[in-house]
């Protein structure tokens, strides 16, 4: 009788789970580390920029004069002064920009989702909005220059800046409106139609309020984006060290323009103004981002 114990003790089939080979293990771990590292690489410049800004720009901001004075009458070496003039300019220009861009953008969004679905015009419009969102800000500035200043004969002014910012903000508003309107469930629209409510009233009273919080968040984020634009300002408005409330006349300062202009003053006071204005600008943008988050929470539709 032949008994082959080795044969009997051997499992009938190979084990289901085998250890990974060393090569595969190493590759897997390397990939994990590299992908994680890529994220760290992205965070480094962000923290670095913010650190630089706070380190160099905090000193001027702690002075009360910074918030309620302009740079009017200051010589390159004079310290002191503030960015009130630039704050006025930035807020006026972006607000007027929003007043034009928001109604227009929301209407375009409504057209794309509620009326034009898959029509040829809607597809063309979507494509053009895409192109608009890739439009270099300097080209937006040049276009407004060619239209508003060369062709219509107006002077360079803060309002021209607002017009060019509209071009940059419009795609953001359209995109956000589009996304938010698609999210609104069709049941809501159908329920409204079933009650005999006309389509336009359904859009105004049902669809828009439902997507309101999302749209307002997007609008404010778009505002934060155009607020930091500098390129069109260089072409379309002169810099003024004095306070100018008039959007339609004369040079007008704004925060990005102040940063850019102060860079040319290579004195200690010039650096002080430059970094101070830069930090003020970033703080303003952060504040607006925060506001967007708060508003979206506040206006969020209560869904039981």
């Amino acid at each position: 009788m032949r008994t082959d114990t080795a044969d009997l003790e051997r499992p009938a089939s190979a084990p289901a789970f085998q250890q990974l080979g060393l090569g595969r293990k190493i590759k897997n771990h390397t990939a994990t580390v590299l992908f994680g590292l890529a994220f760290v690489i992205a965070v480094v410049p962000l923290l670095w920029v913010l650190f630089t800004l706070v380190q160099r720009g905090l000193a001027p901001m702690l002075n009360a004069e910074w918030w309620n004075h302009s740079f009017y009458g200051l010589l390159p070496n004079d310290s002191g002064g503030g960015v009130y003039h630039a704050l006025v300019g930035t807020l006026e220009q972006t607000l007027v920009c929003a007043l034009i861009a928001v109604p227009l953008g929301v209407t375009v969004g409504i057209f794309l989702i509620e009326y034009g679905r898959n029509s040829k015009l809607a597809r063309t419009t979507t494509f053009m909005v895409d192109i608009l969102s890739g439009l270099p800000s300097i080209v937006a500035g040049l276009f407004i220059y060619a239209l508003w200043i060369t062709t219509f004969g107006f002077d360079r002014s803060g309002f021209a800046v607002s017009l060019s910012l509209v071009l940059l903000m419009l795609p953001v508003v359209v995109r956000v409106t589009e996304t938010m309107l698609t999210i609104v469930p069709d049941e809501l629209r159908e329920a409204s139609y079933a009650l005999g409510v006309p389509k336009w009233k359904t859009i105004l009273k049902v669809v828009l309020p439902t997507s309101f919080s999302g749209i307002i968040t997007g609008i404010i984020l778009g505002l934060a984006r155009v607020m930091g634009e500098t390129a069109p300002l260089l072409i379309l408005v002169g810099y003024s060290r004095a306070i100018n409330y008039n959007l339609f006349e004369g040079p007008m300062a704004s925060l990005p323009l102040t940063v850019y202009t102060a860079r040319k003053t290579s004195t200690e006071a010039g650096e002080y103004r430059m970094w101070g204005a830069a930090l003020t600008l970033v703080l303003l943008i952060m504040l607006i981002n925060l506001l967007a988050t708060l508003l979206s929470k506040l206006f969020a539709v209560k869904t039981r």
Binding site: A38, R225, G228, A231
Partner: protein, 361 residues
């Protein structure tokens, strides 16, 4: 249920009574039509007989909405048109070859000579440096955020990357010129010294240690376009069908192998589309480059240590001499070239992106 509806209609012709139990799905519709035929008119007939009512508000609202759509299309068309119309007189007054000349003399409208060759080189070189650096990093971040990072952290992490896009470009310019450039100086000198025999790393038209060259500009641009590429890549990678991922896992693939065999092939074209969007942004970036690049009258040496001006920064630098139509026209001509190239790059990006993932389906 089917039988109960049919039982009421036993008197109906036998042919229909036989067919209706056969297709149970259509029975209800069929029987209701039959029921309505003699006495009550069916709803479809009713609506067919009455004219569709369009309320005034609806008509108004629709035309406003459609008009705004047309307006957007008109804006883009008029951008091209206005730039072209304003550029032509200046191009006619140009004494140099617009496409082949490297000089830029526009101050005197009587004697203008300008060409875009040097501008094109600096623009393309800095954008390509940016793209070469940003593409792998953005791809890595997107894979990390969609496949590796814990679900709880993925969203805040993505927000942090998006914050990079919130920093204004003028601030990137300051940071690049005053903070980053000095730090990069030894790196630039090392590359220039060790790899200087390769033409692209040879001496540029400014000393390599000046820092205000295409190399620094490219790195700052890379940081600026990082959130754009990452955003698009993140979205396409996260759309990878989970059945594919699970299938790969079930076959015993490691995480890396899953990424290599399912996520990456699925999202590759979307990722490339995102990179093109980033390229479009880099080509048109203005103020950061105006601040970083030092302007020089010497022609480029076709090295990444060149300085000079891009299309956009040339326009920004020239804004001070915008005092007559012809001079402005010269800058508008440069802007038109920039507009056409970003239009082409963006259109290509959208085209690539829209094709992404379709073949896999």
């Amino acid at each position: 249920m089917t039988e109960s509806t049919n039982s009421e209609w036993r008197s109906a012709p036998p042919g229909e009574a036989v067919t209706s139990p056969g297709d149970t799905g259509n029975t209800l519709v069929g029987s209701s039509e039959e029921a309505a035929s003699p006495e009550h008119p069916t709803p479809p007939e009713q609506s067919g007989g009455r004219k569709k009512v369009i309320r005034l508000g609806d008509r108004l609202f629709q035309s406003v909405a459609t008009g705004s759509g047309i307006f957007v299309v008109a804006i883009i068309a008029s951008i091209g048109l206005f730039l072209l119309v304003r550029a032509i007189p200046a191009l006619q007054a140009n004494e140099a070859n617009f496409l082949l000349s490297g000089q830029w003399r526009t101050g005197d409208p009587e004697d203008m000579a300008f060409g875009i060759v040097d501008l094109a080189w600096i623009t393309v070189a800095s954008s390509l440096v940016a793209l070469i650096i940003a593409m792998p990093v953005a791809g890595g971040i997107a894979l990390f955020l969609t496949q590796y990072a814990p679900r709880v952290l993925a969203k805040p992490f993505a927000y942090v990357v998006d914050l990079l896009a919130a920093v204004p470009s003028v601030i990137y310019g300051l940071w690049g010129a005053l903070v980053l450039a000095p730090v990069l100086k030894p790196v630039a000198l090392w590359i220039n010294g060790t790899l200087g025999w390769i033409p692209i790393f040879a001496d540029g038209n400014v000393p390599a240690n000046s820092g205000s060259n295409v190399f620094t500009a490219g790195i700052v641009l890379a940081v600026m376009i990082l959130p754009i590429i990452t955003g698009v890549a993140r979205e396409v990678f996260s759309r990878t069908p989970s059945a594919q991922i699970e299938g790969a896992l079930a076959l015993g693939a490691t995480k890396w192998e899953v990424v290599r065999t399912t996520v990456w092939p699925f999202g590759r074209s979307g990722f490339v589309g995102g990179a093109m969007l980033g390229l479009g942004r880099a080509l048109g970036e203005t103020v950061a480059l105006t601040v970083i690049l030092s302007y020089t009258f010497e022609g480029p040496h076709y090295s990444i240590f060149d300085a000079g001006a891009t299309f956009a920064s040339r326009i920004a630098l020239g804004s001070a001499e915008f005092n007559n139509h012809l001079t402005v026209g010269a800058y508008i001509a440069a802007g038109l070239v920039l507009f056409i190239s970003t239009f082409a790059v963006n259109a290509l990006a959208r085209w690539i992106e829209s094709g992404s993932g379709k073949g896999k389906k």
